[in-house]
Symmetry: C2
Subunit: 224 residues, 2 copies
């Protein structure tokens, strides 16, 4: 209840953006749990700002699908049902495949070099067993591919979808039995991109996303 939210004042951003980032992080990390109410006065007091930036941040969270508000009742952290997650995963599969296909055509030699580095960093983090680091390096690996699409709107949508999966995916990354599969899949994706083999890339990323989907759904079923 007595959440320990604090603002990162480094950035010279409007408070609404700082509040938005803070709440977003809190939701993704699980500090704010699905269904938990987002009360303006309480949040304002905790973060030491007025209600105005809080309200604007909530409007933004709402559009990101991280919060749901009922008029005159207030906002709460979006709950994720199994059906909702299946819907998200369905979209994500299609867009991840698209991203990989585009990257196949457009990725530069430089980006391929970076991708190789990120792939290695991911493998190293798996050895370390630090789940937070694993999640981080995995994101970085896929970010290289996303950026290679040269389609910022697509990158945006994929990041948004990833957000909604994030909380559940962490559970998946805890299970060591998945590690060999993950390494194999990353290798397959990387090799396809290096060889500009679009069909191979499509197959690899589809496999990768589908496996993750299965695991994420299992987590939700266990929780709910």
């Amino acid at each position: 209840m007595t959440e320990d939210l604090k603002l990162n004042m480094d950035a010279f951003l409007p408070l609404r953006d700082v509040v938005f980032n803070t709440l977003r992080e809190a939701i993704l990390k699980g500090d704010l749990k699905p269904g938990e109410r987002l009360m303006e006065l309480q949040l304002a007091a905790q973060l030491g700002v007025s209600r105005t930036p809080i309200r604007e941040a909530i409007r933004m969270l709402e559009q990101e699908g991280l919060a749901v508000t009922v008029p005159r009742k207030g906002a709460e952290v979006a709950k994720m049902t199994l059906k909702g997650m299946e819907d998200v995963l369905e979209i994500r599969e299609a867009l991840d495949i698209l991203a990989c296909q585009l990257a196949c055509d457009r990725i530069t030699e430089e980006q391929l070099t970076v991708l190789a580095e990120k792939k290695k960093a991911f493998e190293d983090s798996l050895k370390s067993g630090n789940v937070k680091a694993i999640a981080e390096t995995d994101v970085e690996f896929h970010d290289v591919i996303y950026d290679a699409t040269n389609n910022p709107k697509l990158v945006n949508m994929l990041n948004n979808l990833r957000e909604q999966i994030y909380r559940y995916r962490v559970e998946y990354l805890k299970r060591e039995e998945n590690y060999p599969t993950l390494i194999k899949e990353h290798n397959a994706i990387y090799d396809s991109l290096v060889n500009r083999n679009q069909d191979g890339a499509t197959a690899s990323i589809r496999e990768h996303v589908k496996n993750q989907a299965i695991a994420v759904k299992e987590v939700i079923i266990q929780q709910g």
Copy 2:
């Protein structure tokens, strides 16, 4: 300049939602043009509300991609570059194909009946030559397919993408030489869905979207 915006007070919605819908409509209809500034005080005066609901509506428009704000400078109607439109069309093609594939599996007999009706209504509106009606019936035809996916999040994203194309697509629908192609494409999509032919549906919708993409890009090139 002296826009004639007026609020629709029918709904018992918070003002932010009424303002949001009003501004959204104005942008899509072209009453508010790309690049036009959205000044809070001016809009508040025009709509007879305070700045608070205006600001919240702007935050929502922003997340929809219909407005862009620069901190401490203000918001303006999002401009659409050719590159931006290509990016949107790229995503839309992938998601429209996904929607059509899902619909192939999931569309009910009832929905197929409605789809037939909408197809006919579209053909009739083409004969009428009323562009607004054509745009409307076309949307309704595709909405049946979207709904048949049984994936509300996907429907949401597709509607959002369609919004961003809307203004330019209208030009496409003005050209009578396109009408036979449009009818043929709708028929192909409909037939594939009736026969639950997923490959056929994929090919049909891809063709349909690609043709539209070409036309929309031409419009942008002519304008810019």
